[in-house]
């Protein structure tokens, strides 16, 4: 990541050398969207390593402790909560991010 940022900074400096301040801001935004695509479930917008929104809501309700909310990876390498994805494929068997036909590559944490 650090190297990439360095490169982006250089590229940007070549284009607009006078605007150091806006440049910094731009970098922060770029990193944020990178996180979203890889680590956050695009369906419920919670980190895939945490329990999904639904499991969070339900465990809160009955103080039931930890729930088994696993992560699922598709052949397209996109990851979601299994809970979220199993709801979505009932309706449309495609990856919401890349629209490819959804097939499970692996599941786990």
């Amino acid at each position: 990541m650090a190297d990439e940022n360095e490169n982006e900074k250089m590229d940007n400096e070549n284009q607009k050398p006078e605007k150091m301040f806006t440049l910094k801001k731009w970098n922060a935004v770029a990193m944020w969207s990178w996180d979203v695509e890889c680590d956050t479930c695009a369906i419920c917008r919670v980190q895939v390593m945490d329990a999904c929104l639904r499991c969070q809501a339900e465990s809160k309700k009955d103080s039931y402790g930890k729930q088994d909310c696993v992560v699922v990876w598709g052949e397209c390498n996109h990851s979601f909560h299994y809970c979220c994805m199993s709801l979505w494929v009932k309706q449309n068997n495609r990856c919401p991010l890349c629209q490819q036909e959804w097939s499970i590559q692996r599941m786990g944490k």
């Binding site: 695009a42 369906i43 449309n92």
Partner: protein, 178 residues
């Protein structure tokens, strides 16, 4: 004691299985409503029926250019409990002359299609913000007049844009003023 509490737990679980998705929708809405208001197109505004219910609101579009310029168009938006597995329900409550909006207020916008055959329909990665910008674009882009909802309007546009413009203005004058 243990079996009793287990039984109680089991009973609770059974009861929560068909639980509505409303709490999930509401959690999503807290973020999405904020994002939407921050990124609203300058020609649009949002009106809530009830401040405590983010799931029902009116989007008001006042185009500042194009055929519908000067009109005030209201869309009733209802984010149902199944959100974001399904798109919000959208109805245009202002009568207007538009190839993609019927005179009854049905709106033809690909991202509002629940079942997508071409990958352009609803997907849970979409947000209210996308819906708002999509509706806003109905008044700026005149790209997709294939498969229109108002066939007569689409034909008129195809054959005579001058006549089309006149009809649009007539509707704006009659129905889309404050």
């Amino acid at each position: 004691m243990i079996t009793l509490s287990q039984r109680l737990k089991r009973k609770n679980d059974a009861e929560t299985v068909p639980a509505s998705r409303a709490p999930i929708r509401d959690r999503l809405l807290v973020k999405e409503a904020q994002e939407m208001s921050q990124m609203l197109p300058s020609s649009c505004s949002v009106l809530y029926h009830n401040e405590n219910d983010l799931s029902k609101f009116v989007l008001i579009v006042k185009p500042t250019e194009g055929y519908w310029e000067g009109g005030i168009f209201r869309f009733d938006i209802d984010v149902t409990e199944e959100y974001n597995m399904v798109p919000p329900l959208v109805k245009c409550s202002t009568k207007l002359w538009h190839p993609n909006i019927s005179e009854n207020g049905e709106v033809c916008l690909s991202l509002l299609r629940k079942h997508s055959v071409d990958g352009m329909g609803w997907s849970p990665i979409r947000r209210l913000n996308d819906v708002v910008w999509g509706l806003h674009a109905l008044f700026t882009d005149l790209l997709n007049f294939e498969d229109p909802l108002n066939v007569e309007a689409a034909d008129q546009y195809r054959y005579s844009q001058d006549n089309f413009k006149i009809t649009v203005l007539e509707y704006v004058r009659n129905y889309a003023k404050e």
